[in-house]
Amino acid sequence: MNITQPPATDTAAPGLLLLRGEGLSCIRQDRVLFSQLSLQLHSGQLLQILGKNGAGKSSLLRILAGLASPDDGQVFYQAKPLAQSLPAYCGNLCYIGHQSGVHEQLTALENLRFWRAASGLNNADDWALLAQLGLAGLEDVPCRMLSAGQQRRVSLARLWLTPAKIWILDEPFTALDQSAIVLLQQQMLDHLNQGGAIILTSHQNLTLQFQSLVQLELAYRW
């Protein structure tokens, strides 16, 4: 486990500590994916988790999102263990896993409406948002007719709607074309500037300059 930090981060003042993992371990099928892993996420910070396929990136994200429990160690949200702060944490978290969370039989608009209802958000201008994401004209086509990249865009549209401070994104750039990747990174940059924090896994290098980027490499272990 080596943490590489670009020199730029030294100058940036660390924001509020949002999320902290301490001594995290995860075991899958008798294989230790990682052990004694500690990490911190401050507001305004982008944490990129790197590692080979099977290194445990998604497992780590699921643990940090409160979906799975670590085999050892603990996650703290604003200095309280996750078990105690779960309702507050879930309200402040936007997790997008590698399944898109988009139902193929529903249209982009219907998926967004469902997602907004599920997160207790008010109505917003979905048409304008979908147009911004390059889905103009496809708003009321069932998502099974869309390409993988377009479905991904529908799924990522919630990042433009959510008020959550912490984003946990598992391979958000998968299947996206160059213009969508830039669009998403721009949105991530805006989020960070507004005091949000992002944890993501990606095999692609980020093309925009993120001042507060911290990289965490998970080594593949046998």
């Binding site: 699921r62 999102a65 409160g66 979906l67 799975a68 429990s69 779960l86 309702p87 879930c90 309200g91 978290l93 997790y95 997008i96 896993g97 590698h98 399944q99 898109s100 969370g101 988009v102 139902h103 193929e104 039989q105 529903l106 219907e110 409406r113 469902f114 997602w115 907004r116 209802a117 599920a118 997160s119 207790g120 069932p142």
Partner: protein, 220 residues
Amino acid sequence: MVNMVFIQRELRLLARQKADWLNPILFFIIVLSLFPLGVGPEPNMLRIIAPGIVWIAALLSVLLASERLFKDDYRNGVIEQLVAGRQSLLAFVLAKTLANWLSTGLPLILLSPVVALLLGLQQPALAAMALTLLLGTPLLSLLSVLGSALTMAADKGGILLALLILPLYIPLLIFASSAIEAASIGLGYQGQLAILLAMLLLALALVPMAVTSALRINVS
């Protein structure tokens, strides 16, 4: 707690995937229309076996509808999203249950006059059948939603689902068919109805919580 957007979504999905609810209804009608052919059209014989076969057909058709309830939402990650967000999982479960009852339970109640005609049931028995279906099908929906939530992650969960859920259907089967039987020989059946209502209320109070836990366990 009850969320109209969720209910609309479920109904819209049912409208787009008609096989999910039409197949069980057709199954119910086919089974019931085969019985007079199989055991012979002797009215007295049919009247004796009618209460049992109506309810067995109802159980199996609801079971048929339940296998795929959560499958799609599990596969495409919607359940995972809801568990991660936590706050609306219960509303989602209630919407699923309501939509399941509207698409499988309600049609059986509406079909009961046709069933009475097929099996030669007379008036008091027909009323008893409709009433037991009215109280019993919501209970069937609740239990099948529970079974479906428990088995959604299993690839071929069908037979596991049947093994889990059919034993829970048995009390319902006993009291519902005994109510119809009592009515057909002119006895009162309020007692059986009261027990069905009690079972329904108990399930209504406990099952949604069990379902949310089952969903949570399945994604973690």
